[in-house]
């Protein structure tokens, strides 16, 4: 049965945030925000100026966006696959596997700033070209950061089965393999998306931060830092806004994929 949506509350949940956002942007443009934060329009440029710079440098920005998104997506894919694989192993060998899960989730608590330089050291010999080896190092950092969320959630999805479904499988005389493909695998699908909701924003952050330490200078995160170092604050802001758009866009894509993938379960 479709839920009746109260028009008044629905309108409110759009109008209030929009008003708030508009108020912030207006106070920014009129300079009130600068007084509030005790800063000047040099460090915190007006929104119109930032948009202008984004428009002017759109080619260069796109180049950096491509680099960052490539790192985030590759790392996310690799990390999620490895994480899921770990979860499968933990399901097949519960005793030692779940111990491994504890270790993997402990990895999650390691600060990315500590990981990034280590991976850059390790990948020094991967390729002659700085661009390639920096890329590998960055992807590895994102891989490690997105691995933990996936393995922990997928493990829950593979083991926390609906009541009696196990018994049903027994009455069908289903083997372990059939049980895995017909019951456990489909059951873990919603949990995969739970993991991705955490690891998609995480992968963007991982990509940006690992760029700080990379040898080869490219990527949205690195551009923020480089432009601040040469005191080009307006350009830095253009990259910050870009970074925010990347984060939000990737999350929206995830939401769309999730709705499509899980539509039969609602």
């Amino acid at each position: 049965m479709p839920k009746k949506i109260n028009v008044k509350t629905a309108a409110g949940s759009v109008i209030y945030p929009t008003l708030f956002g508009a108020a912030v942007i207006i106070s920014w443009q009129t300079g009130f925000l600068h007084k509030l934060l005790k800063t000047d329009e040099y460090v915190l440029p007006y929104p119109t100026k930032i948009l202008h710079i984004m428009h002017e440098n759109s080619d260069k920005i796109m180049l950096n966006v491509q680099a960052s998104v490539k790192v985030a997506l590759l790392g996310l894919l690799l990390g999620s696959l490895i994480g899921y694989f770990i979860a499968i192993i933990a399901t097949v060998f519960p005793k030692y596997g779940s111990g491994g899960l504890t270790i993997v989730s402990a990895f999650n608590a390691i600060p990315i700033v500590a990981l990034a330089p280590v991976f850059i050291n390790w990948t020094k010999d991967v390729s002659e070209e700085a661009e390639v080896r920096s890329m590998v190092a960055k992807v590895l950092v994102v891989t490690v950061t997105s691995m933990a969320a996936m393995s922990v959630n997928a493990y829950r999805g593979l083991t926390e089965l609906p009541p009696f479904s196990d018994d049903l499988m027994k009455t069908y005389a289903a083997g372990k393999v059939t049980e895995f493909f017909k019951l456990r695998l489909p059951n873990s699908l919603p949990y995969i998306f739970t993991a991705l909701r955490v690891s998609v924003p995480g992968s963007v952050i991982g990509a940006l931060v690992s760029e700080y330490f990379a040898e080869y200078i490219i990527g949205v995160g690195r551009q923020i830092r480089e432009n601040i170092l040469i005191a080009q604050y307006a350009t830095a802001w253009a990259y910050i806004i870009t970074a925010c758009i990347i984060g939000i866009a990737m999350y929206i894509v995830l939401m769309i994929v999730e709705t499509i993938a899980l539509r039969k379960r609602k």
Binding site: P17, I110, P111, A114, I205, Y233, I240, C244
Partner: protein, 272 residues
């Protein structure tokens, strides 16, 4: 025989086996690096070398040993992370409380709360540094922002988790808003609140170290970049990497311990 089997399959033993396996892999790799590279400590030193560098009494910058240096900088970094963490917790839980009290505030703040999670705050570290103009302040602010979202989101989820029946019970008791919150809502959201704390503790530390790397001064991140640039022995870098990893993991477990101490339901659950 049974006893041995129980020890072999106990959780601590399994975790130990995994740690030993990781150490073995690390050392094998380190031996390989040692044979093929001119400066193995730049890529992967032996664990014993790292421990040596921490315990040796050799002064590395004239006045301090490696351990003293790491500890002094860690104190600065961790105290800033701690202040930011506490500010973030306070702001996050207060916002969650207001959001649960007032529908307008909830509608106003919720989309932005979602946005904060999606925006790469760590990427904004340099600009916040530029705005505040003070590196110490910006470290605290970023640690606070990063702590803020998980705490606020989880606490709000905790307020939402209170079943309808409990609301009805409080209604039939004619409980006022204050009693409703102190007797049912706040106790119900405590476990969720601690989940938020556990998620954000390592993040606050990461933030503090990362902001350190942006500017000189005192702090683990500054020391890390100095060591990477070759201003001092590479082992300082490895010390910091391991130290921050351990601190990150410990901070997560510390919150769990705190929860067990502060919350009776955890202790009762354990005994059964």
């Amino acid at each position: 025989m049974k006893k041995i089997k129980r020890i072999l399959t106990s959780k601590i033993f399994v975790t130990l086996i995994w740690i030993v396996a990781l150490i073995v892999v690390w050392e094998l790799f380190a031996f390989h690096v040692e044979q093929t590279k001119r400066t193995p400590e730049n890529i992967q030193p032996h664990l014993s070398g790292i421990v040596d560098s921490l315990t040796s009494s050799r002064k590395i910058n004239g006045s301090q040993t490696a351990l003293q240096m790491v500890m002094e900088n860690a104190k600065a970094t961790l105290s800033r992370a701690g202040i930011g963490y506490i500010i973030g917790i306070a702001a996050g839980s207060v916002l969650a409380l207001f959001m649960s009290l007032s529908g307008v505030i909830e509608k106003l703040a919720f989309p932005y709360l979602m946005l904060i999670q999606l925006i790469p705050i760590l990427g904004m570290a340099p600009i916040i540094n530029a705005i505040t103009g003070d590196i110490a302040k910006s470290r605290i602010i970023i640690a606070a922002i990063l702590t803020f979202y998980p705490v606020a989101a989880n606490t709000l989820a905790g307020f939402k988790s209170v079943q309808k029946e409990k609301h009805e019970l409080m209604y039939s008791y004619a409980a006022n808003k204050f009693q409703l919150y102190t007797k049912t809502m706040i106790p119900a959201c405590i476990p969720y609140f601690f989940t938020g704390l556990k998620i954000s503790a390592p993040m606050a530390i990461t933030a503090s170290i990362l902001v350190d790397t942006l500017q000189g001064g005192i702090g683990l991140g500054c020391l890390l970049s100095q060591s990477l640039k070759g201003a001092m022995t590479r082992y300082v870098f490895w010390d910091i990497v391991f130290f921050s990893a351990v601190i990150g993991i410990l901070s997560f477990y510390l919150m769990g311990v705190l929860e067990t101490i502060l919350c009776p339901y955890k202790r009762i659950g354990k005994k059964e």
